[in-house]
Amino acid sequence: MAMTKRKHISVHAQGGMLRQLFPDSTLKIVGHDKGLIWEGKLQPTNLSITYNIRVEYNIGCNPNIYVLSPSPLPLAKDATKLPHTYNHEKQHLCLYHRLMNEWNERKMIAKTIIPWTSEWLLHYEIWITTGTWHGGGIH
């Protein structure tokens, strides 16, 4: 059986899927299929609040995910910064292990990065309450 090598997904296809799954979101393609900026709303559970999220992606790089609002995100009692973030002030989330190849350009952002963002938000809401991150991961 021949191995089918999955191709890199184009920026247009990435953006198209994001818009298809989140029709109310906004998408800007940067350059000519060089990158994208997506902004949308995510509500991690039925009882959660809604968060404004921004995804910045340039082909050949890892996508960067930010929580635009609420800003600042309130912290758990006695915490000084948000868990699993690259940059606390920018609310730049660490959703996966870059060196472990958990995401690559053959994967749809809308079907990987976005559910992971939602999951981050869910565990963030619980972290506020318990002071402990229950979502797993690596420090």
């Binding site: 799954l21 989140f22 029709p23 109310d24 709303k41 995510l42 509500q43 991690p44 559970t45 039925n46 009882l47 959660s48 609040i49 309130p74 910064k81 868990p83 699993h84 973030t85 690259y86 940059n87 606390h88 730049h92 660490c94 959703l95 996966y96 292990h97 870059r98 472990m100 958990e102 995401w103 809308a110 079907k111 990987t112 976005i114 559910p115 992971w116 963002t117 939602s118 999951e119 981050w120 938000l121 869910l122 565990h123 809401e125 619980i126 972290w127 506020i128 309450t129 318990t130 002071g131 402990t132 991150w133 229950h134 979502g135 797993g136 991961g137 690596i138 420090h139």
Partner: protein, 408 residues
Amino acid sequence: MLTQEEKKQFSEIFETLGETLDITETQYNAAVSSYGAVGEWLAKPESSLAPYKPVIRPQGSFMLGTIIRPVCDDDDLDIDLVCELTGKNPQWAQYHLKQAVGNRLKVNETYRNMLEEEGRRCWTLMYSNSANYHMDILPSLVCNGYNTVLEKAFSSTALGKDYETLAIRITDKKQNNYYTDTSTENWMKCNPFGYCRWFFATADVSTLRKTVVLSEAINPVPKYSVEKLPLQRVVQILKRHRDMMFNGDEDKPISIIITTLASRAYDKETYIIDALTNVVTNMSNYIENRYDPNTGKFVKWIPNPVNSDENFADKWVEHPQREKNFYKWLNQIELDIQAVVQKRGLQYIAEAMKKPFGEQAVTKTFTTFGEMNRNLRESGVLKMAAGTGILSMAGNIVAAAHNFHGND
């Protein structure tokens, strides 16, 4: 108005809270084996009680499945037990029956040391080795073949509501005939098992898969059940709120009143949040006003569902603070539930729950919720709904494996 999805999630939160408030399987099994040992001791062939075939059976919240842990883990758990004797010496008045049980307990050195001062109706054993609990043992007299009567009433096919046949006779130091009257028809009646049967008839929701095995309730050695009916959870939640509000206060609303009124108001809701909201809104409607010809006044009456002549609120006349506290509590829990239900954001919902139900219990509830979601994702069944990002098992996009990574 809550959407179905919101109701479902609130119910999950309150279900998890209820599980957190419940005693653990270890505590449960420890209690069962402790009173099982008492039962064996009383029934030994050389026991003075042997001719009366003593049986120890749980009653009260332990039997109803509504027992909760104390607010402080160091505080005592109360376990109510009935000691049934089938028949008695014809010479015995209430006093003699009570002493017969007490004396047999005292023959055992361990129990003698654990016995507390004699109660009005009970003997109390204080356990303080691994777990702290009190066991209130209610000496009682039952008819011949009582166990068969009980089993029949608690079989799944029982249709009759003849609770009266389940009544037992008890002793009460405050009765005038306590020392003298040997004819048991003049002794006080009490019907904990009739009440239990009524409670389960009220709590039973046939549309729910979780059928509680009714016959387990009267088993002297009932199996621990993790699953609870919505009404059982609601009662646990109400009692916890009461404990938080009146920790240690003698004039707090009593469990039997809370349980009875909640059961009366319960309308077979399957979502705990619906049940809870309905119960707190409507339970006070089941408090009656009855005219007392002796005083010419109306008194608040909360009838025992299996004996409407018995008023669970009889102490309210003598202790008006108890009535005040009951209404104060009911008003507060209604406000607290409303406040929780109006919040959005798990962090704000949790915050609103901490004062009414206890910080530790709420933290544990949300820890469980977080870990459950992590497990769902790790087993590949957590899915995201397109358009909203809502995660559940019902979404359309599977949340793939990944590791949240380090800090900046």
